[in-house]
Symmetry: C2
Subunit: 264 residues, 2 copies
Amino acid sequence: LATSTYFRLWDGRASLNEGALLRFSPDFTTQVIRRLDPNFAVCYDQRTRVPLWTLEHLTRETITMGKNVDRGNSIFREDNRIHTFFRSTNQDYSGSGFDRGHMIPSADHRSSQESMNNTFFLSNIAPQVGKGFNRDKWAHLERYARALVKHYIGGLWILTGPLYLPRLDPTDNKLYVKYQVIGPNQVAVPTHFFKIMIGQQKDGQLDIYSYLMPNEPIDKDTPLEKFLVAPELIEQNAGFLITTEKIQKNKIRTINQPWIDFKL
Amino acid sequence: LATSTYFRLWDGRASLNEGALLRFSPDFTTQVIRRLDPNFAVCYDQRTRVPLWTLEHLTRETITMGKNVDRGNSIFREDNRIHTFFRSTNQDYSGSGFDRGHMIPSADHRSSQESMNNTFFLSNIAPQVGKGFNRDKWAHLERYARALVKHYIGGLWILTGPLYLPRLDPTDNKLYVKYQVIGPNQVAVPTHFFKIMIGQQKDGQLDIYSYLMPNEPIDKDTPLEKFLVAPELIEQNAGFLITTEKIQKNKIRTINQPWIDFKL
Ligand SMILES: [Mg+2]
Ligand SMILES: [Mg+2]
């Protein structure tokens, strides 16, 4: 591909014609969309070395544990289809103090060992605070998502990803985005994570749940409802449109109205 | 488009088939590539509200001032084809202390008033320090690029864009990316800017020049050569591949070897 792209551009003609510019740009992107499994995909950001967003389709089947499936057999693996310039590695996370946090949780796709293994590609991983977040409140939200699946016959689509939100610096009253980068590949440590869940009722109507959490230890008694935010807030900061543009307004039944008596 | 995408996804079937996931993602991106003119395009980053990269094709024609072309007739305009959630505005820059810095310089495309006007879309703009940078050393580099054009019969391709580079915090010995955001739309203020120039000789051989400058006042006596860096450094931080993958190695004559006796 690299060679053919080259020839399409630098074919020796003095390229003064209108097409000269465009011949250069078609596969010129900083994002790579990777279908890791039939039921999930990631959009990897080559600039930050973590995903921009991940998308999964959950059903009762995907969350039902298959025979002989064992999380202990899954190992974190580099994604070799990402160029080495942009690929995150286990070494980046090692000793960083951060967990290798799944965007698409392994427990969401446990019908086969292969699907579970596919959630362990590092292209699906971002640095998360372990205690109080990845292992606790964020895991709580993930369990809640799986509990929802049973109530949506059409399935549940979940978008998960990182954000880098600005904070006010009181010393100069200006807004700054600040985040750490870890390891030789300078993997970004997001300040927040979002999760948007879209559940489809039997009649096609949709319920949308939209969560935003800081990447920090969170008190275990904080109710999940406290992290509900308008989906537009996530869209504006993540850079994509879902509820604002991709979904017909009259198909939406509820937004951020958890209705399930949720005890986990 | 939004509606049809909706129907392709939520068509009422219980979507357990393999295609259910993919039907959701095709036009789901955080980047928008905009062809602003036959000779230049920008890849706008909806997350940062500035370009990820811009690409232009320079020839003697594009840099020759056309009849009655006047920079004073060009005004900075919002790019209405960017969704309001992500669109930068003049208000964002107003009073921020930063210049509206052209990525594709207006003086590069002055053969017609229309082409020059097209460089004034805010989708081609990023916040730059004015004195000592946009109006001085960065402008110096832009003049150098135009001086190069005369020497490349095949034309000159220029990639320009922002970077957000980490710095070591001596208090905890960790690396942090930190940048300001300005205005109601929180437009990112890049820490650095890059410019990669690819000149094509008559025989098809290529000369590559690769510059990286901090977005800060730079002493006017600093020679441009001081800002030459390996193109791979820019690629790794910008998230794309040009010299590493898109260009055949045996077509490259020189990298970072300015050979023109440059007096401006
Ligand atoms: Mg986890
Ligand atoms: Mg300028």
